[in-house]
Amino acid sequence: MLTDPRTIAWLGPEIVLIAAATGIVVAGAFLRGSAFATMRIIAAVSILAAGAALRVGEANHWMTTETGEWTGPLVCDPLGFLVRHLALFAGLLLTLMLSRGADERDGTETLGLILFLTVGAMIAARANELVLVFLGLELVSIPTYALLYLGRNDRDGSEASAKYFFLSILSSAFFLYGASFLYGIAGTTWITAPEGIASIRDAVSRDPQPFAMLGLALVVAGLGFKLAAVPFHFYAPDVYQGTNHRNAAILAVMPKVAGLAVLIRLVVMGLPGVRNEVWQLALVLSVLTMTVGNVCALWQTDLRRMMAYSSIAHAGYLLIGIAVGAAAVGDPLPYGGVAASVYYLCVYSVATIGLFAALQSLGDGSRRVDSLDHVAGLGVTDPWKAAALAVFLFSLAGIPPLAGFWGKLTLFTTAIGQALRGESSMTPWFLGLALIAVANATIAAAYYLRVVGYLYFRTPPATSADLPSQSGPAGGLAAFLAAFLAAFLVLAIGLHQGPLAEWADRGERGLRALEPPPAAAVRATGPQHADIADRRGSLREPPE
């Protein structure tokens, strides 16, 4: 097998993080008590160092060529670059979000586990090989089990961690069983490879046999759980409710980052041989997911339960981009489905982590923020945190000019674009998808704005005795800082969406450059890909 020696060099950021995490966990065993604040600084610095290593390590390779190059088990391309940045930023916010109060006892373990799962998401973001994909996904899952266990140690907490553990491992087994069939078809675990080297992509394209469908269905079931897509969503409300804000933020973001990246690489780009099945499956899952998520969120009074349904609904939006991307695979015209999905993932992740960080920073030892009543009148009592919460809620609802609006806009327009420009048999499907998505965005606004109404138009509870006494972690300045950073980013992306959109677009173009050119005309016009305008004249049938 050919493995580029640079592969190891490109793992630099991950190596930095793993070393830091190991050091923190080991040192924590000896330094009890006061070590937490120092360790948090070390963790944050190591994340920043990993970000620097990421920029330095890859800058020479594709920053200049823009398309990425095939390197073997790890792909080095703009999509991986963007998603790894997202994972690092999410890891940084989560590190800041840890509270001094209850987290202090297990603080070093918690920090170490957060770094480990950041590495898991980073590996999954660019794995081009089934073993690495599986390892990346599990490196997200296993620390999550332990964090659920560490986060909250009461009856609800143990119920939530048991539920999450058994369902998550079942989903991993589905993924694994599906992967075994894909491996069996191809005889190799490589997902994509240049011409002449065996890969799953080639084998399934050559001979889309029933085993490929079986593998596809099982893999999508396993990844659907990571994304919390209906019908694999039912764990989410219970688990979010039964744990604390920090774990809910992890569950809402990290598995989705890893799962979406794997979905793009393995299912959308890796299985073009069954692309019709892929887009149909993604489309149906998307419609079901967003509708169920949004409708069920309407009558929730527990904040984390509401956010669980909200995260389910957002998984549905992410799947719109997957459906469009899969339908357009092999088509010379890129329709931007994958780019829209990745863009939306970034926007959603920042807003969700920020929202949980703001909620976390509200708890202060005498006050616990679990249900809607607990945030009533916050606009008067704590205007800064209320403003941050409102920014995140408006962004998630998709109110312009915040980041969430642009995310939804690009997703919906790619669906309409696919309906108009794709094969005519797809038109009604994607038009219907866009219409249902718009209707869902309206429903979603109702429950997000209800929370905003509680923040600003309700009177705060008369005395603090009305609030349940605090047993969970207290908030802190660092959590507020995380919320502030996220709110700033949501505003900044909303007002100046160019750079992120461009990166997402480069991500999709990089992926398409990795695939063999579909038409001879493209091969003639340029080494990687010609201008869209050039290709418009040479629209060919996608390869069989």
Partner: protein
Amino acid sequence: MNPLAYPVTVSHYLAVGAVLFVAGIICMAVKRNALGVLMGVELVLNGANVNFVAFGSRVLRDESLGLDGHVFALFVIVLAAAEAAVALAIALNYYNNHSTIDVDQADELKG
């Protein structure tokens, strides 16, 4: 014809893997004891493992391309061990809070 004289092919192993996988899922669905569910988990993972080893076998398939399947199976075994360790901690924590490891008692979070 003696059915025992037929050569063993990949399909036979796939059948074994499928039986293990389905048995594991049934076990996870019907067992009320958390440790029983954990045994179901092991069966499910090993069902997939049998597939990997059978597909990767040089004896069963001439066109097999190296050790990918075996490596995958080894990684799965290691991960299953790691998961079992976490699972036992979760089960113990569950027992501390509920005084039982009957997973049907976990019904307080709903709405």
